[in-house]
């Protein structure tokens, strides 16, 4: 794959290095204020220095022929402009942008761009880890708005139908019993030791956690 990484700060250089280690054809565009020093000495890709809004610089980096472009500078305005031009003018197949300041996320939605919002995502994960350790997030979709969580079934839920767990904003993904995963039907009866995966929003998983981990006196 021919990939252009725009921005050579901590994020851009880390990403470019990883992809070049996997044998991808990587071109990095380093802004005048974030030079190539961030890249390890054994970086295999090409490095171009210059303004990323300068057509000549994009052209030399291969914008007309690349398969993917990642806009990873620490300026949201710059990421928006480069990513939008790559997608709409040069028809680059895969374009992803880094959202630096979460306050500007709405702009990426307006431009219809795929983003990774490292700040929002990390904050959400940290928040989850502060609240609870026993319900583990195993997969994040988007920027963490929906995640897949893993829960172990305790003895107090033995014999209950899985449908009791299917509250608002929670969907069952799989149930693993004795090392074998099943696509669960709503009438699935839980057994102590089952491992259940659910897909849920943060609100959904909070409610589920309150339900599942609540000390159960009745019945």
């Amino acid at each position: 794959m021919q990939i252009i990484v725009v921005g050579c700060g901590r994020m851009g250089s880390e990403l470019a290095y990883r992809m070049s280690q996997r044998g991808q054809d990587v071109a990095v565009i380093a802004l005048p204020d974030a030079p190539r020093e961030n890249l390890p000495a054994d970086f295999q890709g090409r490095v171009f220095e210059g303004d990323v809004t300068n057509y000549e610089v994009l052209h030399r980096a291969g914008i007309e022929t690349c398969d993917a472009l990642v806009a990873a500078t620490n300026s949201d305005a710059l990421n928006l402009v480069v990513a939008h031009a790559a997608a709409q003018k040069f028809h680059v197949k895969t374009v992803v942008a880094r959202n630096y300041d979460p306050a500007y996320r709405y702009l990426y939605e307006m431009f219809d761009l795929q983003i990774v919002s490292a700040t929002s995502w990390a904050a959400q994960r940290l928040e989850e880890m502060v609240y609870h350790g026993e319900v583990r997030a195993v997969f994040s979709a988007g920027n963490g708005e929906v995640e897949v969580y893993e829960l172990a079934v305790g003895a107090e839920w033995d014999g209950h139908p899985l449908s009791e767990w299917m509250i608002a904003d929670v969907i069952a993904v799989s149930v693993a019993r004795a090392g074998r995963a099943h696509l669960p039907r709503p009438d699935w009866i839980l057994k102590a030791g089952d491992v259940v995966h659910v897909s849920a929003t943060l609100d959904g998983v909070e409610s589920l956690r309150a339900l599942v981990c609540r000390p159960r006196e009745e019945k």
Binding site: D51, T53, N54, L80, V81, H84, A85, Y104
Partner: protein, 224 residues
């Protein structure tokens, strides 16, 4: 008209003053303390809005939802581009104007980011200087289609090649049409038989290359 100007530096502030003098409803947004201090001395306080330039709430406070025109005059080209896109896509602003700071970024200032008018100071200056150098007494009255074609006016002095010659006998430059002749206060509609006289003011529609050839026909060669 309701005009929101984003970026109150020298360009933005000058534009604001001009438009206020013409009774337009002008609002200026900026985020730089120094700039704000300066424009507070020059413009009515209620027209100045302080805050991040790409923040929707700040722009809405400045009234972008009801704006007829949004002028992006910041010193960052990428911010100006995003502002134009935002103004059109989110707020339906009918006309967007953007300042081009670095001429190398000019290729982005078009429909791609919903920029209706690009103000490229460097290239406007360059082409004006070039015109002044090459066209002598010819005056540009109107530029059509972003300045490629112009309506120009030139007064014919004694000794010019065209004096006493009928239009049909004059070899006119390729991309040029004589549109009117002003003679002793009257308008003469140019026909093939019309003969040029000393003192005629000739109006022509022309591109820059033909304009230079036109100058050669209508100027006194001795003057150089």
């Amino acid at each position: 008209m309701y005009v929101v100007i984003v970026g109150g530096g020298r360009t933005g502030a000058q534009l604001a003053r001009t438009l206020i003098a013409q009774d337009h409803d002008v609002h200026v947004v900026d985020d730089r303390k120094q700039v704000l201090t300066r424009i507070h001395r020059e413009l009515p306080t209620e027209l100045i809005h302080e805050g991040e330039l790409l923040n929707a709430q700040v722009l809405e406070q400045a009234g972008i939802e009801q704006a007829d025109v949004m002028a992006a005059c910041t010193t960052h080209d990428e911010v100006n581009l995003v502002l134009c896109y935002l103004a059109r896509k989110r707020y339906g602003v009918r006309r967007t104007i953007a300042r081009v700071n670095n001429p190398r970024n000019a290729w982005l200032f078009n429909d791609l980011f919903h920029v209706d008018v690009e103000l490229n100071q460097a290239s406007i200056m360059a082409s004006m200087i070039q015109e002044e150098m090459s066209l002598g007494d010819m005056v540009t009255l109107l530029k059509l289609r972003r300045g490629h074609y112009s309506l120009v006016e030139e007064k014919i002095p004694a000794g010019a090649k065209a004096v006493g010659v009928a239009i049909k006998d004059l070899v006119l430059p390729r991309n040029c049409v004589i549109t009117a002749i002003l003679r002793s206060g009257d308008v003469v509609v140019p026909r093939g038989e019309t003969v040029f006289e000393v003192g005629d003011e000739v109006l022509a529609l022309t591109d820059p290359k033909s304009a230079r050839e036109l100058v050669a026909l209508f100027e006194d060669p001795e003057m150089d």
